[in-house]
Assembly symmetry: C2
Homo-oligomer: 335 residues x 2
């Protein structure tokens, strides 16, 4: 994919205009690591629907135009993207049909329905339905409706990029931004926005070691896909998907490095963010805090001066899981 | 006390000027009650030091002037005010000596020391030391240093009032503001600020039923003091103190009513705020959410149209206590 086709800062600014009054400008919350480093958390956990996904979903549906979206939209997601599409569709007064795995958390299914969306359970029995995503594609084709992809879409990437606009505008001495990587849409958008004003900022993606397909792709220079079963091992459920060709191209062009964190570090980070920043982060959302707390040398942060921002992408997790994280031991910081 | 002596909107605006760059403008976070009402939480839990207390403490030390504060300040507190004075003193580059009960939470003592303040443990053995407060007064007199009271001081009340300025400026259709009551400084300041722009707004104080001295005072029209031992029964440790003549005068003049909540409702509110607003509230901070969720008729909210704001005053609590709250059953909403 040719970088000249990528989203530009102007596209992201247009998305920010559309999102005015829809997405909140989320706060930058001071946070001190166990090693005593002061950083800022960009708390998308405090966004409407509890994650950044409203930004991309709303921008994508807005970009369709009234005629194309009037019959409704289709999406596939087990989590935050489902809530983003459901909320955005409600705001446009259109129908949304979301294919979700039957075992997606009941609370997430309930929230999607509460926004008026129709939930269809993934039926893996049919050959065209190998994944919820494929089932949604089949459904969209059958009904002639647009499908809102969770990351492989430049209007979605532009929407997520508005997180980066907010960070760039508020932090003058920005030295580094850490972003969790799932499908890669969030980091692609943020990197595009942040590099415009801070060309030399260090941009680091963070993945669980148990779902490190993006790191492997980045280091080998070839897009690698990990089997879904492998990704299921991590508690960070938002990062279980693989990159697309599109998001991989953004990452190769704009990201400095990708680091991984262990499961114990992710759980400890959820605890530290609750204790020190009074914010509930979901495990995928706390990946970046884990990297700053426990992998700062690997992330290339130790010799940087200036402000480090860790993007906390969301705060949707079951209360039982939050309680378990609050019991997690805190690993010793390195050094 | 003559109301003409009370803090005015101009004093609060001056405090806001002083606090620029010191206190954060905290976010208003959307929150849905179990009964389906949409309200906003004013999240002082996300303030620097995790509570609103930095506002009053900093404003009071600023108002002293350079000569009066140069030798340092003294305060007494087991909790958030200690952290507020310690942080404010550090920002002014002066010494702070804080009298704390020896059994104050270790984490809070550690945070006070981390800001460079000297912690002196309350020694109840001496007759002039009947309370930590009296010990601090004796110490301040002995050393000729100013004492920063946690609420019985108009410069402190003006600082806390800046919370109300922020709410009034951001919410055009403000119908009601709920504020936790401990010593009464926060509600006195907020009510003064909010009434300026929204004269007919409903202002409701919230206390634990187990520490309901302010409600009794309000209803009987006479300042009542409850013995400290009674106040110790509630989990909401920030509300165990009694009003002063000064704060009682603000409350009589500016507050519409004071309601109480049960301990089970406070714990459930901590849980609901974590689950639905992704914010960690301490029990005293969650009192207002408990009132909106479970006592909305008593608080006079049921027939109001417009936006209700619940002030979440802080987010400092032990992780074990947070975990216990996350197990709390959610009472059925009324009606």
């Amino acid at each position: 994919m040719d970088p000249s086709d990528h989203v530009t800062i102007d596209t992201i600014r247009a998305a920010a205009e559309r999102l005015r009054g829809v997405a909140l400008e989320t706060p930058l919350i001071p946070f001190e690591t166990p090693a005593g480093r002061q950083i800022l958390l960009k708390a998308e956990s405090l966004q409407a629907i509890g994650s950044f996904k409203i930004r991309g979903a709303y921008n994508a549906i807005a970009a369709l135009g009234e005629a194309a979206r009037s019959g409704g939209v289709v999406a596939a997601s087990s989590g935050n993207h489902a809530q983003g599409v459901a909320r955005a569709a409600r705001l446009f007064g259109i129908e949304a049909t979301i294919v979700m795995p039957a075992d997606a958390p009941a609370i997430k299914q309930a929230r999607v329905r509460a926004d008026g969306a129709r939930v269809i359970h993934w039926d893996p029995g049919r050959p065209s339905h190998a994944t919820p995503h494929e089932q949604a594609i089949a459904l969209a084709a059958e009904r002639g409706l647009p499908m809102i992809h969770s990351f492989d879409d430049d209007t979605v990437i532009a929407g997520q990029g508005t997180v980066g606009l907010e960070v760039a505008a508020r932090v003058d001495d920005l030295a580094a931004v850490l972003v969790p990587i799932g499908g890669g849409g969030l980091i692609g958008g943020i990197a595009t926005a942040v590099r415009e004003r801070h060309p030399n900022v260090r941009i680091v993606g963070v993945e669980p070691a148990l779902a490190a397909d993006a790191q492997e792709s980045f280091r080998t220079g070839r897009l690698v896909r990990w089997p879904t079963e492998l990704g299921r091992r991590t508690i960070a459920d938002g990062t279980r998907v693989n990159l697309s060709e599109r998001t991989f191209a953004y990452i190769r062009r704009l990201v400095d490095d990708i680091v991984t964190v262990e499961e114990s570090e992710i759980m400890a980070a959820v605890r530290l963010v609750a204790e020190r920043a009074r914010t509930v982060a979901e495990p995928s959302g706390a990946l970046t805090a884990a990297a700053v707390c426990f992998r700062s040398a690997e992330a290339g942060l130790d010799r940087l001066s200036g402000t480090v921002v860790a993007v906390i992408s969301g705060g949707n997790l079951d209360t039982d899981r939050l309680r378990a994280c609050l019991e997690a031991p805190i690993p010793n910081p390195p050094g």
